[in-house]
């Protein structure tokens, strides 16, 4: 196992633990957070605040490095187009997030619970992500 893969494994693990401790893997908490005009549960605001705090400070420091420790270059998006795909995609995602209380990370972390809901949700999500790539490559050929 090379260092890139080992660090990916570790980051995935740490991410999942963070999601679990924070409450993000409990869909009722996510829906409670989105229920701004009902019985609002503000706790997930602190999840985002904590994560953004660490990353925004760290990002400014990391940017000064010439390259990452284990790979040859930083791969950071440079696209600045506010296009319709971005907006439509984000709107669809928000609706789905509100319906079931799952976004991709927590859903995949919760798979090992083998709950019926997460299996149906994540199975559908992964199948649709596969279809999306098929659609993208067909579009590219035309």
């Amino acid at each position: 196992m090379n260092r890139e893969n080992l660090s990916s494994l570790f980051c995935g693990f740490l991410f999942a633990i963070g999601l679990g401790i924070s409450g993000m893997t409990q869909p009722q908490k996510v829906v409670g957070f989105l229920d701004l005009f009902g019985s609002w549960d503000p706790s997930l605001l602190f999840v985002m605040a904590g994560a953004v705090l660490v990353y925004s400070i760290g990002y400014r420091w990391v940017k000064k490095n010439r390259k990452p420790f284990f790979t040859s270059a930083f791969l950071i998006p440079t696209n600045r187009q506010l296009d319709s795909s971005l907006m439509l995609g984000s709107a669809l995602f928000g609706i789905g997030w509100g319906i079931a209380g799952f976004c991709p990370g927590p859903a995949l972390t919760s798979l090992v619970g083998l709950g019926h809901s997460v299996l149906v949700f994540a199975g559908t999500m992964l199948a649709v992500m596969l279809l999306f790539e098929k659609w993208q490559s067909r579009k590219a050929i035309r």
């Binding site: 790979t71 789905g96 079931a100 090992v112 992500m129």
Partner: protein, 138 residues
């Protein structure tokens, strides 16, 4: 309760930061996992390792903190499939989800991510409001 949320958030931010420092990549889950299905992406192995790490994290949570994986929502299969379709297609079309846009992108003050995060938060809040208002879920 808010302490756990904040501590968990700090760990999530740290995971994302280490992914950047070590591998030079944005920790966006829909991109990492969705990229597995992209036939033109080379060097796929790290994606599987990241996914395996998440699964191991889930195993640890299940063993030491089982309440973290509890889901008390009652959603029909129709709701779950619809949500899976919308989240799967929406995150790939919009190039990101809560982690890539909501944490990494917002921290970088990326205009695309700031807009995407505003939009998915707005539609998430709207959806929950509509579902409660017209009692579309139990």
């Amino acid at each position: 309760m808010f302490g756990n949320a904040l501590f968990g958030g700090l760990l999530i931010g740290l995971a994302a930061l280490l992914m950047l420092v070590f591998n030079g990549r944005i920790m966006g889950i829909s991109g990492i996992v969705g990229g597995v299905f992209n036939p033109t992406t080379r060097n796929q192995l790290w994606r599987y390792f990241f996914f395996a790490g998440m699964i191991l994290g889930g195993v640890a949570l299940r063993a030491f903190m089982p309440q973290a994986l509890e889901n008390n929502l009652t959603r029909s299969n129709l709701h779950l499939v619809l949500a899976g379709v919308l989240v799967g297609w929406g995150t790939r079309l919009g190039s990101g989800c809560t982690s890539g846009h909501g944490i990494c992108g917002v921290s970088r003050l990326s205009p695309r991510s700031l807009l995407a995060t505003g939009i998915f938060m707005f539609f998430g809040i709207l959806t929950v409001w509509v579902m409660n208002r017209w009692e579309l879920v139990k």
